[in-house]
Amino acid sequence: MGMTVAEKILARASGLPAVTAGDVVEPAVDLAMSHENAALVVNQFLEIYEGTLLSPKIWNPDRVAVIFDHRVPAESPKTASNQKKVREFVAAQLVRKFHDIRGDVGGICHQILPENGYVRPGAVVVGTDSHTTSHGALGAFAFGIGATEMASVWALGAVLNVEVPGTIKVVVKGRFQKHVSAKDLILHLIGRLTAQGANFKVLEFHGDTIRRMPTSGRLVLCNMSVEAGATAGIVPADEETLRYLRDEAGVTDAVTPVVPDPDARYERVIEVNVAKLEPQIACPHTVDNVKSIDQVMGRAINQVVIGSCTNGRLDDLAVAAKIMKGRKVAASTRMLIFPASARIFQQALAKGYVKTFMEAGAVVMNSGCGPCLGVHEGALGDGEVALSTTNRNFKGRMGNPKSEVYLCSPAVAAASALVGAITDPRLGGN
């Protein structure tokens, strides 16, 4: 019987001719990623070795990546000390895929991995971050795990006892209207599926809309698949994947796409036609509380955020810059922009986007997770409302349980910042 992409990848990585949903396997890991929470992974890793007479050694340091992004630069002595500990550990363990706080090679883990060619089609990628699902955009099977599970991966090079997930096939057809994009599609899907509709499942994306979509958009879809509960989101690799890896990630060695068998078994098939899709907004306080923009237009906003592992890429900044060029952020609104990586920041500088943003009154910040998870910057005041291109709007997400977060696309964020209220970008002149 035919296999889905996830089944094919897990079979290969587990040394089996075939697997099917429900099988329990132990796939070898091609890439194991952590961010600052590597500090906890290190603790747990050392604990595994206690009393064993074995010296703690990562199974293969070339398959481990550590990227600082959640609290950069450090907001507290505690974070700085954790980062110091991780820095020393990765140096001692010879981990070379280490991205420190830097203006040349730093950035958000879910951008650093793709742009450096660390993720290949068919790979098994695990990360101590729920948005590790992002890397399915390159045709990999990528999923989030906890820190202690990562410690086990560092020791054994495999993920223990993985149950092969069933797959939901998502077929997307049609062309987006102007100013409607991958973010609107995934918000729409999450609204349809609910926050738990794909729990323990894989979303495998197909259709002409996906084939035309650049990798930057595919990363948005896979990134937010987890918001429907999915274990992984996957776009089967194709010509665009090979183009991205070759032209943008500098990959020179041979890459083999993994595609599903024609008779692969899917638990469900969902069809979406995006031709009439309106800009979508996820309203407080759950990501599946999704509404069309006309239902929330005019809502006053205090802060607009563009950035994150979801929508901080060059294509996103280009959309925002086009809308904002020569105009001003409303006086009642603060606008914060976080390029997803230092490389993207430099590209945005070269293209003049940063100048456009700053002249409009936006604050352009260093690459990192920024206010998305409410740790150290861009917090909201009591009763304040944010409109953000990030991926979560749970109560307290931006650091204050007495605030509200709406999620949207970069086009909606940019158009709304100019007005100071949620605004449909299709109504603007740009």
Binding site: V24, I48, A151
Partner: protein, 169 residues
């Protein structure tokens, strides 16, 4: 028999269980103070030691959705709460199994604060309403880790076996 000390709704995220601003705190010995930090009354009860070990937190569906932060599990585990939830998000469930936090998946559970529950492997009995609710077993993939006492112990066993070094001391 265990007392229900709190009941929460559907889609309780790890941001609610363990707010992001405390994520720099990672040690299981330090995380429990921030469990449900934005819920002043529940957090206060937990910190004051007014909740006895083995007490139950009853939750709706998709408990622990969102971030993979393991602090959300270690914070609850530190208070030795038992979670009885209609369903649980994948990464949270995995983390709970890995760290030995007891989670009971009970899709039809109806219980309120103050109710007494009797929990077994197959069912939860609400002694106040005298109603039985079936329990869904853990995904089979995780049972081996539970049986070993968590993923650290399990990995240690595997590591020693693979190195042919069985001296556990």
């Amino acid at each position: 028999m265990a007392t229900v000390v709190n009941r929460v709704g559907d889609d309780i995220s790890t941001d609610v269980i363990y707010p992001g601003r405390y994520m720099a705190t990672v040690l299981p010995s330090e995380t429990p103070q921030y469990a449900f930090a934005d819920d002043a009354s529940f957090n206060g009860m937990l910190k004051a030691g007014h909740v006895s070990k083995g007490s139950v937190l009853v939750a709706g569906s998709n408990f622990g959705c969102g971030s993979s932060r393991e602090q959300a599990v270690s914070a609850i585990k530190g208070h030795e709460l038992v979670i009885v939830a209609k369903s649980v998000a994948r990464i949270f469930l995995q983390n709970a199994v890995n760290l030995g936090l007891r989670i009971v998946i009970c899709p039809t559970i109806v219980a309120n604060e103050g109710d007494e529950l009797e929990i077994s492997e197959t069912q939860v009995v609400n002694l106040r309403s005298n109603t039985r609710f079936p329990v869904v077993p853990l995904p089979k993939a995780r049972q081996a880790i539970v049986d070993a006492g968590g993923v650290i112990a399990y990995t240690r066993e595997r590591l020693l076996a693979s190195k042919g070094h069985m001296d556990r001391r």
